[in-house]
Amino acid sequence: MAVVYKKSEALTDAPLTYCPGCTHGIIHKLVAETLVELGVFDRAIGVGPVGCSALCDFFFACDMFIAAHGRAPAVATGVKRAHPDKIVFTYQGDGDLASIGTAEVVHAAHRGEKITTIFVNNAIYGMTGGQMAPTTLVGQKATTAPEGRSEEHCGKPIRMAEMLATIEGAKFVERVTVNSPANVRKAKAAIKKAFECQIEGKGFAMVEVLSTCPTNWGYSPVEALRWLDENMVPYYPLGNYKNEL
């Protein structure tokens, strides 16, 4: 019999520590599969964040770092400068990349670091229990925005793909999601291009993936996919924001 789908060899056997139905797991698979399909798994080095994916060094089967909160792009810079022939990626949450790590991701893009960034935007701080992220939608409740985020108090959510696309050194920027089989396929295509951007030595590439946090949103995994579609997608338009491949 022919295998239609099996777990990627770029993932270890360790069970994922994510909550049931959390789409972090889907995004892990897409990264892993891409590394194998592009033939670069054997020279990949990953850099995980602090956030729910702080244990991803146990899940990805390549050499891995876990950076301090927000600093993955700086760590990846150090790694890539030490091994320019290796394929280096960061995997970061929205608290990590869009809040505390803003300077690091902006400057990795600014320097045109030849790294690939997977940015998992779930509009919340998952790991620490549902505090507001810079990407939390207006009106969305969070433990540090108990009445829902108020624009007057702390602004509208930040759109990182749009912002980073203005930087010259960013050569590929796309926003995708994984809330349906079709979107998963598109997400994988984008991730593939983001790695190709690095393989071809063009510069910085980022894929922003809209992701769910059933636990902290307070929805079932399936409901969460729908909430994402109805609330996040309108504010965070899917699509390519930069493609200089």
Binding site: M1, A2, V3, V4, Y5, K6, K7, S8, L11, P15, L16, Y18, C19, P20, G21, C22, T23, H24, G25, I26, H28, K29, S180, P181, V184, R185, P214, S220, P221, V222, L225
Partner: protein, 70 residues
Amino acid sequence: MAKAKLTFDTEKCKGCELCIQFCPKKILVLDTETNQKGYFPAKVTNIDECIACGTCAIMCPDSIITVEKE
């Protein structure tokens, strides 16, 4: 005769139902017995209807499902 084969890594399944949601044939359900982690794992009801499209496996966050076909 089933043309497709589905293998579930049941002990790692978290019963999230994403596979169930997206199966075009609606042939996946949660089991009524929990696994050792306390979750009700997914299983296939009628493998003969499975078209081995892989959708369930693609959507499974925990890479539980292996799909094979003739």
